[in-house]
């Protein structure tokens, strides 16, 4: 499948949200919610296709996310850096992000986190495998940074097996 259609579809989604919500913070929250709803479903497809077993620690999780998941769904392999001393936080560095091909953020949307859907997807998918994490963008090529960096933080293991809520 050509990536242009995917990129343009995502772009249309974001601009429509911008028109609907009028302020960037709300759009960011919506993107995160939508990503979460995608993530809780995507994880099943991922586990079925990739056949990876249970990860023993967060480092394994990081590897699987970067080398298997991102490759499978976006065709890119981010690198993993900046591990915290406690081993509960790391960064995913994306040299290029297919979601943002051709995109230039206009000045009136400077606090928009354009690819925030990805953070929601990561959060939702990991929640379904009993990990509560936080994902956030700390660098963004759309804002002038050289690379795009997503910071992943492990919060806790989810012990109670309540069905994942829809947000």
């Amino acid at each position: 499948m050509s990536s242009e259609l995917f990129t343009l579809t995502y772009g249309a989604l974001v601009t429509q949200l911008c028109k609907d919500y009028e302020n960037d913070e709300d759009v960011n929250k919506q993107l995160d919610k939508m990503g979460y709803n995608i993530g809780v479903r995507l994880i099943e497809d991922f586990l079925a296709r990739s056949n990876v077993g249970r990860c023993h620690d967060f480092r394994e999780t990081a590897d699987v996310i970067a080398k298997v998941a991102f490759k499978m769904y976006l065709g890119i392999t981010p690198s993993i850096t900046n591990w915290s001393p406690a081993g509960d936080e790391f960064s995913l560095i994306l040299e290029n992000n297919p979601l943002v091909d051709f995109v230039e953020l206009p000045d009136n949307h400077s606090s928009l986190i354009y690819s925030n859907l990805l953070c929601g997807v990561l959060r939702g998918a990991l929640e379904m495998v009993q990990m509560a994490v936080e994902a956030r963008f700390v660098q963004d090529t759309l804002k002038g940074d050289g690379v795009t960096e997503i910071r992943m933080r492990f919060i806790r293991r989810i012990e109670d097996n309540l069905p994942a809520g829809e947000e």
Binding site: T15, D101, F102, P106, H109
Partner: protein
Amino acid sequence: MVHTSLDVVDEKISAMGKALVDQRELYLGLLYPTEDYKVYPSHQLCRYGYVTNSKVKFVMVVDSSNTALRDNEIRSMFRKLHNSYTDVMCNPFYNPGDRIHSRAFDSMVTSMMIQVC
């Protein structure tokens, strides 16, 4: 000045039919970018037109007292413009018909103009 050249472009399109055309016309007695038109017979401005198959028109105004730009240079400049234009169109925040504010487009145009000066 650009509007009169657009009229000429339209004439030529209807004369030539559908195809990617690259046209050129010379115009003596320039129009200055200010309100009052001054006539300088010594200056020559060449205006080049380019029409895409989606009927988008590009007009390039060149002061030919600078250097004689070769035809294929003009063609490649138009091609670069066309490519950058399609990139601008793909920006989801750009509405077709708006003025182009894209930084990438501006920097491409600036570097192209610096190259020929």
